[in-house]
């Protein structure tokens, strides 16, 4: 019984408290405590998984000539840690007060615990079958968590599940192909095993794997499901899902692309009649993932959907970094997983806190809450700075690494694409913070206060971590190291605050002190600039005329009207139309074949006989 076994048992036991004590807060508290224990257990596993080591679980069974087991290595450990911490924060947040407004809190807790268990089973897979089992479990657990609130979330979750199941089928096919071509399903034995596949088969496997894992990563054209599914989930669940769930796709993709196929092979796999190879194709897919959902986020009017759309784009960043194969790209891609979790969770939690108090996430019906909910504002501010990838937050570090990696790998076009993506991010997160916290306060929100400390505490905690790990990126990179080692990818040298690249280093302490210096300078200017006029946030004015609270401040609606007039024609929802169209087609085909069965069927028997015999007479 090693720590990994304990972790699995503990994850299983985490399901229990809220099942056994469906009423009251004791269930939630015990669950949170269990997550804390899981985090501690994971840290105790660190020595054994660093340097490419791994820990095998005693959970094992045999079927059809295969031994199916579980084994955690550094790569899985890295994701598992993020999972456990995200669950801890979300659970603490829910227990801390959010669940007072929720009638299915115990269901939420147990479903989140189920998700964590499923993710451990996926991340600790030792072979392709256990990987698939974990994958399906994650999909189903995710579906249940998304559907927990009922109503429109069920439809969104169902849509997700259909995408996920389609992906899983593609994945299963890929697994069978891999098993057949290499004769083994053990992940350890498969390291580099796919490098020698013939080109045609390689493309097939790559395509299937891309569909399989790409669905979870919501890479276009499979991106339609994610935003509503995450956005309409319960707030803490959305934070958890947004922080880690779709990263499982990245995990799987890396496992196949980096570990089994190898990036050298990807570079060597040229697409006929074009100048693309598999690596650049994937990198461009990542870049599209980065850009398209980000600009869709721009048009959203629901804060939760806006955030969820953003989460997709950031996944593109991670994949882009990992596809580079150089040390900076790897470090950036993996670090971005951690960093994204550390700011996406507080963003969702802050928005949830706003919803908790105001009852709406509609960006057209919020505003001016900065004075009413200052802590939520701080959290959201830290989060969006991270999301936009600006200093001093940790998002800046990972994005810097990726930009630098792109330039090092001499991919200027992709660099431009990444910058365009970041631009979109900045624009839309500004819309987010403006429409919620700045501008005119709405009259019905006059009495709103900050969320209870039980909720504010966890979200500030994690936002604080995002800030500190931005200042000291070595903290995050220290956790990334085992993952890169397990994948066999290079890492740049780093210390607590600085990353050393061959042509130019990044020392975040310097960046942060410069920034603080600049802010201090600005503050000095502001404080010495003389008396300022303070207005009530309920007040409004235009052209020097003071207006009352009844007159709406207009700029929150159609926020980027000018920009959208420019890019709007590019954003036709043709994929949505395609999705609906295939649904209609299925309906039509179904009606046709159903109609076939309500006729005098003997005719078909005879026609079938005749046609069969005739065919034989002609062919044989």
């Amino acid at each position: 019984m090693n720590a990994f076994d304990l972790l699995l048992y503990l994850a299983l036991a985490t399901l229990l408290p809220s099942l056994l004590a469906p009423k009251g807060r004791s269930g939630g508290m015990l669950t949170t405590l269990a997550y804390l224990l899981q985090v501690w257990l994971l840290f105790s596993l660190l020595p054994s998984v660093s340097q490419g080591g791994s820990v095998a679980a005693c959970l094992e069974f045999a079927a059809f000539g295969h031994t199916i087991g579980w084994q955690l290595n550094g790569f899985g450990w890295f994701f598992a840690l993020i999972t456990a911490v995200s669950a801890l924060i979300a659970s603490a947040y829910a227990t801390g007060g959010w669940e007072r407004q929720c009638d299915h809190a115990s269901r939420l807790h147990s479903l989140m615990a189920l998700n964590v268990l499923a993710m451990y089973l996926l991340l600790g897979a030792a072979d392709l079958i256990s990987l698939f089992i974990g994958w399906e479990l994650v999909s189903w657990a995710g579906f249940l968590l998304m559907a927990a609130p009922g109503g429109q979330s069920v439809q969104a979750a169902l849509r997700y599940l259909i995408y996920a199941l389609a992906g899983a089928l593609a994945l299963l096919t890929a697994i069978v192909l891999i098993e057949q071509s290499s004769g083994t399903i053990q992940l350890d034995a498969l390291r580099g095993a796919l490098a020698s596949l013939p080109d045609g088969l390689s493309w097939v496997v790559l395509a299937l794997v891309f569909v399989g894992f790409g669905v979870k990563l919501a890479m276009p054209p499979f991106h339609l499901w994610q935003a509503p599914a995450y956005g309409y989930a319960d707030g803490p669940a959305a934070a958890f899902l947004g922080a880690i769930s779709s990263r499982m796709g990245l995990f799987g993709l890396c496992l196949v692309l980096v570990q089994m196929v190898g990036l050298e092979r990807l570079v060597g796999l040229a697409l006929p009649f074009s100048f693309f190879d598999a690596q650049s194709l994937l990198a461009w897919a990542a870049a599209i993932t980065l850009i398209v959902p980000t600009y869709i986020a721009l048009t959203q009017n629901d804060a939760r959907l806006l955030l969820a759309w953003h989460g997709i784009g950031q996944g593109g960043f991670m994949l882009l970094g990992l596809m580079l194969g150089n040390d900076l790209g790897t470090a950036g891609g993996l670090l971005h997983v951690l960093n994204h979790a550390s700011y996406q969770a507080p963003l969702f939690l802050a928005v949830t806190a706003v919803v908790y108090r105001t009852g709406t996430a509609d960006l057209d019906r919020l505003g001016g809450l900065i004075a009413r909910m200052p802590w939520a504002y701080v959290t959201l501010l830290l989060g969006i700075i991270g999301l936009a990838g600006l200093p001093p937050m940790n998002g800046f570090v990972s994005k810097w690494l990726i930009y630098k990696g792109l330039l090092d790998a001499q991919m200027p076009l992709l660099f431009v694409a990444a910058v365009i993506g970041t631009l979109g991010t900045i624009l839309s997160v500004y819309k987010l913070i403006h429409n919620i916290f700045l501008g005119q306060l709405r009259a019905e929100h006059r009495e709103v206060t900050d969320a209870p400390w039980g909720m504010t505490g966890p979200m500030l905690l994690i936002a604080g971590f995002a800030f500190i790990s931005g200042m000291l990126p070595g903290l995050g990179l220290y956790l990334v190291e085992p993952a890169a080692a397990a994948l066999g990818l290079p890492m740049p040298s780093f210390d607590l605050s600085a990353i050393h690249a061959p042509n130019g280093a990044l020392d975040m302490l310097v960046v942060v002190s410069a920034l603080i210096g600049a802010i201090g300078f600005g503050a000095l200017l502001f404080l010495n600039a003389g008396r300022s006029y303070r207005t009530q946030p309920l007040d409004n004015y235009a052209g020097g005329h003071f207006l009352t609270a009844q007159t709406r401040y207009q700029y929150s609606h159609h926020f980027y009207a000018g920009l959208l007039r420019v890019i709007g024609p590019w954003m036709r929802p043709w994929l949505v139309a395609l999705e609906q169209g295939s649904g209609h087609f299925l309906d039509l085909a179904s009606a046709a074949s159903r109609g076939l069965y309500y006729h005098n069927g003997l005719r078909f028997l005879v026609f079938g006989t005749v046609v069969g015999l005739l065919w034989l007479l002609i062919v044989v």
Partner: protein
């Protein structure tokens, strides 16, 4: 020991023959006699199954004639397991509650006798006869409640099935015409000596005719139009029996024929195409089904098509996949039909019904998930092996087959998921009373069987592979069934008797 195998047919037969007079003498004994006989039959089957699992398959001749002259049984893992499963299924779905003068128990026993014969017989015409026993018994079972429109269901089944049987008999005649024998092993030997014999137009036409004829019961495409109406009208137990058990019996005959006679003749392609069309039409039709029953009927068609595709691969993985999927379907479909009896309302009116019976609904979900092929339930292993089988099959164009399988599986997943989300929706319009006890018991037992199968998959997998290997083992089948001296039929018992007669006279 293995000579007792004939008792698997005879026991239920004797019971069925004597049940009517017995009922007149003592109704109480008559009530328990049926189940008791089935139990003893199952026990005998399990004993023989263990015997075979240890010592390998065996052939059993009848009448003391050398085998091509007479009829023989071939006892292998798959056949024996099917006998045992048939007994268990019938026991689970036993008509405990019918009035005492109903003949339904007799029909159940006769069905069991026929099923045992089909599972074991190695003679083409004998298979046909036992198949007819099963078929006629199923007409009776569908008609049993005796109300007007159910009689129509029975007639419809009868018309299809009888037309199919005539075509199949024509096919058997063609085969006899070509090969000059009815013993599968002997025909296999003839086919091995003359490879062109069964790949000729006549040979393949015979296969096609038999495929269509048996396809009526195996729910394969051109002959499965009776399915939605009959399953929609007949009682859930009977629908479950037809979809779960009878269809597998028909398929087993086809498989024995395919692998003993038609290996490498192109007959696999015929089965494959039939299976694919069946699969596609069934799953697509189920997509828009308005009622659970209808959905199950069409999904059953789809599943049977999938089985045909799996078996047509003719490699060990494909056959093992087919066997596992068949077992899965056999465990699940009867239970689902029992649920459907309760949830008769249109699917749109079933919102939130699952909450009123949490445990039974959880079992329902488990079964549906296994049908969809979600790990680690047996259905998943079936799909996995199926893909493995298709991707190792030497035939060209398997990519399309895979694509079709994946597409139909997805369609299946979508309609089942729509159903499940509706069942677990928030609002419950008017709660439907929970499953009655006589339905609950078989459902629970079948669910327990499914869980046991899931947990014991490691153990089952070796037997599945063995069973698949035995089904595909042509030379072993022949060696077991045909004695070394084929040309000189020896009658041991007979010569023994003749000897005594010559020596010392005979009474």
């Amino acid at each position: 020991m293995t000579q007792q195998a004939i008792l698997l047919v005879l026991l239920p037969l004797i019971a069925a023959f004597t049940l009517t007079p017995l009922r007149r003498c003592n109704p109480v004994i008559a009530r328990v006699a049926g189940p008791a006989v089935v139990v003893s039959q199952v026990m005998l089957a399990i004993t023989l199954l263990l015997h075979i699992a240890q010592l390998g398959p065996e052939a059993v001749g009848f009448g003391g004639f050398s085998i091509p002259l007479g009829i023989a049984f071939h006892l292998d893992l798959v056949g024996m397991s099917l006998v045992a499963l048939a007994g268990v299924t019938l026991l689970l779905l036993w008509p405990w509650t019918v009035e005492s003068d109903s003949a339904e128990p007799s029909l159940y026993l006769l069905l069991l006798a026929g099923a045992s014969g089909i599972a074991l017989s190695a003679d083409l015409f004998n298979l046909y006869v036992f198949f007819e026993v099963v078929a006629v018994a199923s007409y009776g079972l569908v008609a049993a409640p005796n109300s007007g429109i159910q009689l129509y269901a029975s007639i419809r089944l009868l018309l299809f099935s009888a037309a199919g049987s005539a075509l199949a008999l024509l096919g058997i005649g063609l085969i006899y015409n070509l090969g000059g024998s009815l013993s599968l092993a002997h025909l296999g030997q003839v086919a091995a000596q003359d490879a062109t014999l069964f790949s000729s137009v006549e040979g393949l036409s015979a296969f096609t005719l038999i495929l269509i004829g048996l396809g009526v019961k195996a729910e394969l495409f051109p002959a499965n139009h009776w399915v939605p109406e009959v399953y929609g009208l007949s009682r859930p137990r009977v629908s479950g029996l037809l979809a779960g058990l009878v269809s597998k019996l028909a398929l087993l005959i086809l498989l024995r024929l395919l692998w003993q006679l038609y290996t490498g003749t192109g007959a696999e392609v015929i089965l494959l195409v039939t299976g694919l069309v069946t699969l596609l039409l069934g799953e697509l039709a189920a997509f828009r089904a308005t009622r659970l029953r209808e959905m199950l009927a069409f999904s059953s068609i789809g599943q049977l098509g999938l089985l045909a595709v799996a078996f047509s691969m003719g490699n060990e993985a494909g056959v093992a996949a087919g066997l596992l999927l068949a077992l899965n379907h056999l465990l699940i479909k009867p239970a689902l039909f029992l649920y459907a009896h309760n949830w008769r309302a249109p699917i749109t009116a079933l919102g939130g019904q699952a909450w009123s019976t949490p445990l039974a609904s959880a079992l329902f979900v488990l079964m549906v998930l296994s049908l969809m092929g979600i790990p680690p339930l047996p259905g998943f292993w079936g799909k996995y092996l199926l893909l493995k089988g298709v991707l190792t099959a030497p035939t060209l164009g398997m990519g399309w087959v895979v694509a079709l399988i994946l597409f139909t599986t997805l369609v299946e997943m979508i309609y089942f998921m729509r159903l499940l989300t509706r069942l677990y929706a928030e609002k419950s319009v008017q709660p439907i009373p929970p499953l009655s006890r006589r339905h609950y018991a078989p459902v629970a037992l079948l669910g327990a069987g499914l869980i046991a199968l899931t947990l014991g998959m490691g153990h089952v997998s070796t037997h599945l592979e063995q069973g698949a290997a035995q089904l595909l083992d042509r030379s072993g089948y022949r060696d077991r069934l045909i004695p070394a001296s084929l040309r000189h039929p020896v009658n041991h018992f007979q010569t023994h008797l003749q000897g005594t007669a010559r020596q010392g006279g005979h009474p």
